[in-house]
Symmetry: C2
Subunit: 632 residues, 2 copies
């Protein structure tokens, strides 16, 4: 496919945008008019800059409030169009986007709209330009693609065609199925946008909250499937109005943009291949990466430390019931184990971990995920524009393929074939394999929670979907005493791998302060499962672990909200354990106090098919943490 992006989707000056777009591997751009109006150079100069970057200008946009106007306005608009055509000729833009009229002066008369668009197309044809007509979701008389297509058919001019934008169709809950019946060559251009489901005015939604395909809640794959069934062979483009993208460094946004198109193509390719209806003859080549990896849980979590903090962290892990079970063959790296959980503390000088330690203090620097075919997983990641990471490997050590996650931490793909301990038996000199006296009954890693900067949430949602094959859950807003937290879980199908993405909208919450200590994309807590939380908590307290205290009032309130057995309520109250219930099951959990500037642990017990993270209880935890520093 010819892949393009509208300049409005990125931050920066026009030149900076073009450089970022070219660097991310796009083929072309949609030029947003305001970017040209404020550009200090001529159309011919822009043409040269764009060409030198290996790009084409595929579309000039938008041309507004044209069709269905009274005669006086119509003639004035034709004049306006001629001036835009002058520019398009000079910059080499072959197509202009004419969006449906929003003016109160416009009349609801498809025949007039068609006649006026015919005249516009005739003017364009004289210069060998083309006009694409698009239904805006908030167009005054034309808001759906079927209406726009009706007008284009009535106008019946070879230089007039249809422009489709997934946002305008999916935001109105319009059915894209009819697109497949439109002749592909009459669709002149396709813009893809995703969006979170929001209850707001569609114009505000469109102008501020669109996102790249795979970052939102729309069925963009279903939309694009219909476009391909129509036989469309033109550019695949992104037109994203997003307040956060306006602020985010544009190189990062451009990489996300390209990843979103590759993901969209590959998902749509799969859907077409699996579809029952006979597809049109394949007229375009869709991106075909290795399949998303089948992951089966976290093999290990690696912490970056120096000698001193490694000792402190080791003592803390001891309190949590972990036992030191190995030393690395060649490096200052220690292995801790409890149940099926492995923690690695890496204090090796001159290592990747040490760089992370120096930048962010004691913090998680890598996750090890188990998978059947690590090389295929890295192949998928590379195809989806993630960077591969190769560490130096010593003698008698395994090479575990790794990639760089957004924010700079590593994700290692650990071969399942190694079994539970194979990796550690090879790389480590194991000291003791049995459970220690301090074992607290922690069995596996339930989830890892990341604290993200506001502009990283969409990046992570797309990364985890496209690269790791995870799927996002519901997006929640939680009240911290000093601001709101947005929280979203992502998990694989069998729930053996769960990540929770937390964003602080405020700079003053603990989540935000953790970020400033440990950098964006930082792990701010690790949740560990157990089979009997009361037994585990008792053992952990005996080991010296301190938990965040929970107000008695929480339990009084809980009893009015949920029908909990009185004896269970009493045990939870005594132990300081929090509780949540869904239709499928229960969640019992408790949080430790923070270690070294932020990181803390959660102990959890899932009962039945409970599939969330006790987010409703996070405010109790955050309020308790906020009360921590002072006597209250």
């Amino acid at each position: 496919m010819h892949r393009a992006i509208a300049t409005v989707s990125l931050s920066g000056t026009l030149r900076q945008k073009l450089e970022a777009i070219a660097a991310a591997g796009f083929d072309g751009i949609e030029l947003f008019e305001a970017d040209f109006v404020n550009f200090r150079g001529t159309a011919a100069e822009l043409r040269r800059i764009v060409a030198d970057l290996g790009l084409s200008i595929d579309l000039y946009q938008p041309f507004r409030d044209f069709e269905g106007m009274p005669e006086a306005q119509f003639h004035r608009s034709l004049e306006r169009a001629e001036r835009k055509f002058d520019l398009m000729e000079a910059m080499g833009a072959p197509l202009v986007l004419c969006c449906s009229n929003t003016s109160p002066l416009s009349v609801n008369d498809p025949a007039r709209a068609a006649a006026q668009l015919h005249e516009l197309a005739e003017r364009a044809a004289r210069r060998n330009l083309r006009v694409g007509f698009e239904a805006l979701a908030w167009g005054r008389h034309t808001s759906r693609y079927a209406q726009a297509w009706d007008i284009v058919q009535r106008a019946d001019h070879p230089h007039l065609g249809l422009i489709l934008d997934s946002f305008h169709t999916l935001s109105l809950k319009d059915d894209p199925a009819g697109i497949a019946a439109i002749p592909g060559e009459k669709i002149f251009f396709v813009q893809m946008a995703d969006a979170p489901l929001l209850s707001m005015d569609v114009l505000q939604w469109a102008r501020h909250h669109r996102s790249f395909p795979g970052q939102g809640d729309f069925d963009v794959v279903g939309f694009f499937e219909q476009v391909l069934r129509a036989g469309y062979t033109g550019p695949l483009s992104l037109e994203i109005f997003n307040d956060i993208f306006r602020e985010t460094p544009n190189r990062r946004t451009a990489v996300d943009a390209m990843r979103s198109l590759l993901y969209l193509e590959s998902e749509t390719r799969e859907r077409l291949a699996n579809g029952n209806a006979p597809a049109q003859p394949q007229r375009v080549e869709l991106f075909n990466p290795p399949p998303a990896p089948a992951l089966s849980g976290l093999s290990f979590i690696e912490f970056a430390a120096d000698e001193a903090s490694a000792a402190t962290l080791g003592a803390l892990l001891g309190q949590l019931g972990f036992r030191r079970v190995g030393r690395h063959r060649s490096k200052a790296v220690t292995l801790y184990r409890q149940g099926g959980i492995h923690f690695i503390v890496n204090a090796q000088p001159d290592s990747f971990a040490r760089q992370r330690f120096e930048a962010h203090g004691t913090s998680v620097c890598a996750l090890g995920v188990r998978c059947a075919d690590p090389l295929a997983a890295v192949g998928r990641a590379s195809a989806m524009r993630s960077q591969r990471h190769d560490s130096p490997v010593g003698p008698n050590e395994l090479r575990v393929p790794a990639i760089v996650a957004p924010g700079g931490n590593l994700i290692h793909f650990v071969p399942e074939a190694l079994g539970a301990n194979g990796l550690y038996e090879t790389d480590f000199i194991l000291e003791d394999a049995g459970p220690g006296d301090s074992d607290a009954g922690l069995t596996r890693i339930d989830h890892v929670a990341l604290g993200l900067a506001l502009d990283q949430l969409d990046t992570w949602v797309l990364f985890t979907r496209a690269v790791l094959g995870l799927e996002p859950g519901e997006s929640l807003e939680l009240a911290d005493p000093f601001g709101l937290i947005r929280s979203r879980g992502v998990a694989n199908a069998d729930r053996s791998l769960r990540l929770v993405l937390n964003v602080s909208l405020s700079q003053r919450t603990r989540t935000a302060r953790t970020l400033s200590v440990t950098g964006g994309g930082a792990v701010h807590h690790i949740a560990l499962d157990c089979d009997d939380i009361f037994d585990t908590v008792a053992r952990l307290r005996a080991n010296g672990t301190r938990f965040v205290p929970i107000s008695d009032n929480y339990y009084d309130d809980l009893a009015t909200r949920i029908d909990v057995a009185p004896e269970l309520l009493a045990r939870m109250r005594e132990a300081g354990v929090l509780f949540d219930r869904s239709a499928a099951g229960d969640y019992l959990h408790i949080y430790t106090e923070s270690f070294d500037g932020g990181l803390f642990f959660e102990v959890a017990q899932r009962v039945g098919g409970y599939d969330a993270y006790g987010a409703l209880n996070a405010p109790a935890r955050m309020a308790s943490q906020a009360q921590q520093p002072q006597q209250d």
Copy 2:
């Protein structure tokens, strides 16, 4: 009036909130349930803390999803209510807020709702507690106060009354006039909230975007007038769900909150006094401050500097056509003049200005506004909880009363009786009174634009309304290459005093970077009027002033948007002058390059009754500034 505020309106732990509320002079609180659930103390302990702070708990809230339920749920809810009544008794809260049911289980049956509320009130009465019923704007069957009042009348229980919230009425555009007919003693509690007019789901609007009275667009005065006409004598309270208040240090928010109530009372008092309808006998005493001052423009702008930067700034002012006309009698302070504009450069060691210089660099540290009665203006400001500022005064100097604006700059009130130069003749040794050779034809200060942190916009809107008697205009969103800017003008009735409040939603715009250099509430540009912008710009260029260059494409585009005479367009293109047109007149303007980290000047010519600030052209300026550092 008994003044109260809901704890949900402020950030912090419950204890921190209570301390801020008490410090701001409130009489009582609404206790938001989640604040108590997460409070680490008993209800009795809370009662003691609140009493020690001199506060009362006037309301416990909310009690949800009660009325109109099937029998099973109803009995469960009564149990839930008894547990809440236990708490209320222990903490000394006399009244609970029961908001209209949003549950899909509820039935549309006012008689059943009334019977169930009667039973709830009966239970409350046994403990001498009361129940207030409130219509939520998104209640499933009851969303308007008239419906809630109908149910309260049917229930007919002395311990059941109505709770009114301006947000729920005004957000639905419901008419508050009917409130005056409700017996005042059946209104148990009144919550006041303002809000900006937003096109979004009313629940999202209510949960995230309410503001204090005077900060939004609702006619809160008209609402409160009806409440008083009803004969209401209970608490006047604020229940504000606002994302930004959740993040803002709560002492500042609490002062804004108190100011908003004082402003609401005084405005409502005036409206009642001026009303035609015979008011009820005055049953409560409303706040009665000195009237808002009649201001008549800016007398001077004062810059903070040290010796070196004073010289640099002096040279810049020289380029702008200003002439040094005086030295202060006793301080290192210099006076510059052009037309009716006075700039003061204050480099006096150990002065307020020097403190500002050391904190924020060369920057505006004070505005002098002309007014008829400066002492009354300071009295108004003090009554509205602004801090008075007294500077040391030397021999033969005038004492000009001053107050501290949000962010720390000063506003001096200069007596009109002094005439144009009286102040300067007294305090300065004047060197030369005539216009110099470099005079560029600048005549007066058009407006002063402030760069504000996100959490300061509402504070400033309320400050300028309540303390200075200005009125806000439209709120606009403008695109900077690195993020959005929100901009709102405030002005007095005759437009002799105009301020523009700009907020950067992004950290990466020039506006945001100016803030980080010069502190919140900083002046980022000063607009100066002239009578012939082409003549003035030519003279300024001859003096060495450098202006932000504007793209040729801007003028090509302007010609397609607005019908400007070709010769005027050509002159603007040549001079780099920007243009805007309203129905009332035209605005021609141009921006200088930035001085010393941020501050710049605008030169403007207003033609006819143009009443805005050329905001549509701000993106052209911001894009140009963004292209400044690099060759483009």
